[in-house]
């Protein structure tokens, strides 16, 4: 009889290195993200956090190592193929479709769920129309969930920064992802907006069971909402574990505060 195995992680990053010319942005980083957890990735500026996220979502391809999602190797997939597997993301400096309304922005998140023939769509007729309405209903639920009803017709580019971040989260959620990658979802927000965003992240995790990996600088936020924390510094993972443990880790403190050399 075999031993009962630990449940397989949703995402396994194995010894991944990413190189830009002579710069090794990620140096043999390994990380496992378990189903249903919120995992925070922290580290000083330039530590390679966004690079890691970009490697996971297919924008960069690792120079060595493997990335396994849900049991399948997806190391060298392109971003659209990664999205098709059920990984959605937001960007550090908000990548919304600025000229489009909030509603249209979120509807784009449904694209992968939509099917249809070119001709029927051109005529906006029959199944194409029905499908459009079904997806519209789903998107309205997300709009209610994130409390952005009032701005649904506004062009995304006109919104204040905090709301743009929320719309970007809505677009990612519209894809019904298994894994949600958030790149600094609370950067540049005031305390109130941060509290809202924290609440949404926790709600998404609990109500939809979405696994979340997020990069965040605000230590208070990280300690509050994450189940596990991974710390990067100069492209190397220097610590990993529950928040309380990471907070006391000497290597982490050194990385953040600097080491005295006397």
């Amino acid at each position: 009889m075999s031993q009962p195995e630990a449940p397989a992680p949703l995402l396994r990053v194995e010894n991944v290195s990413v190189r830009f010319g002579a710069l090794l942005a990620l140096n043999r980083v390994s990380l496992e993200i378990q189903r249903g957890e919120i995992c925070a990735i922290i580290g000083p500026n330039g530590a390679g956090k966004t690079t890691l996220l970009n490697a996971i979502s297919g924008f960069y391809h690792p120079y060595e190592g493997r990335i396994v999602f849900d049991g399948t190797d997806r190391t060298n997939l392109s971003p659209p193929d990664v999205a098709a597997l059920g990984i959605a993301r937001t960007f550090q400096n908000v990548a919304l479709f600025k000229g489009m309304s909030v509603l249209d922005n979120i509807m784009t998140g449904r694209l992968l769920k939509m099917r249809g023939s070119f001709l029927l769509e051109a005529l906006y007729w029959g199944p194409a129309r029905r499908q459009e309405l079904e997806h519209r209903a789903f998107v309205e639920r997300i709009i209610d969930f994130l409390e952005i009803q009032a701005i649904r017709k506004t062009a995304a580019g006109r919104l204040p920064y905090g709301l743009q971040k929320r719309v970007e989260l809505a677009r990612a959620l519209a894809a019904e992802p298994t894994l949600l990658l958030l790149d600094e979802p609370m950067a540049g927000m005031n305390v109130e907006e941060k509290e809202d965003m924290c609440r949404f992240v926790l709600d998404v995790n609990q109500e939809f069971g979405t696994t979340i990996a997020l990069i965040e600088h605000d230590m208070g936020v990280v300690m509050d909402i994450s189940d596990r924390v991974a710390v990067l510094d100069y492209g190397i993972k220097i610590a990993e574990g529950p928040p309380e443990q990471v907070r006391k880790d000497q290597t982490v403190l050194d990385a953040y505060l600097g080491v005295s050399h006397d």
Partner: protein, 312 residues
């Protein structure tokens, strides 16, 4: 002094009122010319909307489509088969452009993609000439070209069918862009490549779709234009008139391309007929560009364009 004022500001309008049937014919001529500009401008708008690329080669695509169609007809291919084949050629062209021009230049500055389309422009012109020859050709796919009288005005059936075709094309494209999956994907790609990739839109498919659609619009424009004035290489020059149309209508607006085309077409015909004699004619040649200049000064986003707000 008063005589000049009279000649500029009063006499032309007296002429218009004096012979409404003639005015009507001038207007119809202007509308037809305008729709031709619009059809070319439409191709520009489609590609610009979806990829942010200003496709300098759109005029030549019209020429190329018309040349291909005429060439096939001359070799005895039946009309329907020739239309299907031309469509296949334009779609193949879209695939080739994506593979050879756009894909290697992905993420480059817009100006570089623009330069690439200038290259494409010369390539297509030379290639078309090489394959199909440089003579002026008559394009006749059997569109009715008779005139009939309405309220004392001559109306040409060809012009009428061009108007209807343009109207249908615009309606379909507008709904397609606003309300459908692929339309939304097209707009998304135009707005932000990175974000579009992250939500699963494959860029290359979108580019092929949009260049194919622009190719189809080019076929329609080529047929109408070719039927009216023969297929010749000056077609690609006339197509440059769609630049002022774009400035007037706004680079991202499909209805803008149509309205802009109509304003330019009607404006230059009226100017030519009623004010032309005062300055010795040739108003038709520069009218469009002067209107465009005025718009650039006072309303750079055009009538229907999106105002671009950049936050610093």
């Amino acid at each position: 002094m008063t005589e000049i004022l009279y000649a500029v500001a009063v006499a032309p309008f007296k002429d218009m009122v004096g012979s409404p049937a003639f005015l009507g014919e001038v207007l119809i001529g202007g509308i037809f010319a305008g729709l031709m500009y619009s059809l070319v401008a439409l191709g520009f708008v489609l590609i610009f909307k979806a990829s942010g690329v200003f496709n300098f080669a759109q005029g030549v695509m019209v020429l190329f489509a018309a040349l291909t169609l005429v060439g096939l007809l001359e070799r005895g291919v039946p009309v329907v088969a020739a239309l299907v084949l031309t469509t296949v050629v334009m779609v193949a062209l879209a695939f080739a452009i994506e593979r050879v021009v756009l894909r290697p230049l992905v993420n480059q500055e817009h100006i570089i993609l623009f330069m690439a389309t200038i290259g494409l422009n010369f390539f297509l012109e030379g290639f078309g000439e090489m394959v199909w020859g440089a003579n002026v050709k008559k394009l006749d796919i059997g569109l009715p070209d008779k005139s009939f009288m309405v309220a004392g005005m001559q109306v040409n059936q060809l012009e009428l069918s061009a108007a209807v075709t343009a109207a249908v094309l615009v309606a379909v494209l507008a709904v397609f862009f606003q309300r459908t999956r692929i339309g939304r994907a097209l707009r998304a790609v135009a707005d932000d490549h990175e974000a579009a990739l992250s939500i699963g839109i494959p860029l290359k498919t979108i580019w092929i779709v949009v260049w194919s659609v622009a190719g189809l619009v080019a076929i329609v424009a080529g047929i109408m234009w070719g039927a009216k004035s023969g297929v010749q290489f000056s077609l690609s020059l006339i197509a440059l008139k769609s630049l002022p149309v774009l400035i007037l209508g706004g680079f991202t607006s499909i209805p803008g391309a149509i309205v802009g085309g109509l304003i330019i077409g009607v404006g230059e015909k009226l100017g030519e007929v009623y004010w032309g004699p005062l300055v010795g004619g040739a108003i038709e040649n520069w009218f469009a560009y002067v209107v465009a200049l005025v718009f650039l000064l006072f309303r750079p986003q055009g009538l229907f364009g999106e105002k671009i707000i950049e936050r610093v």
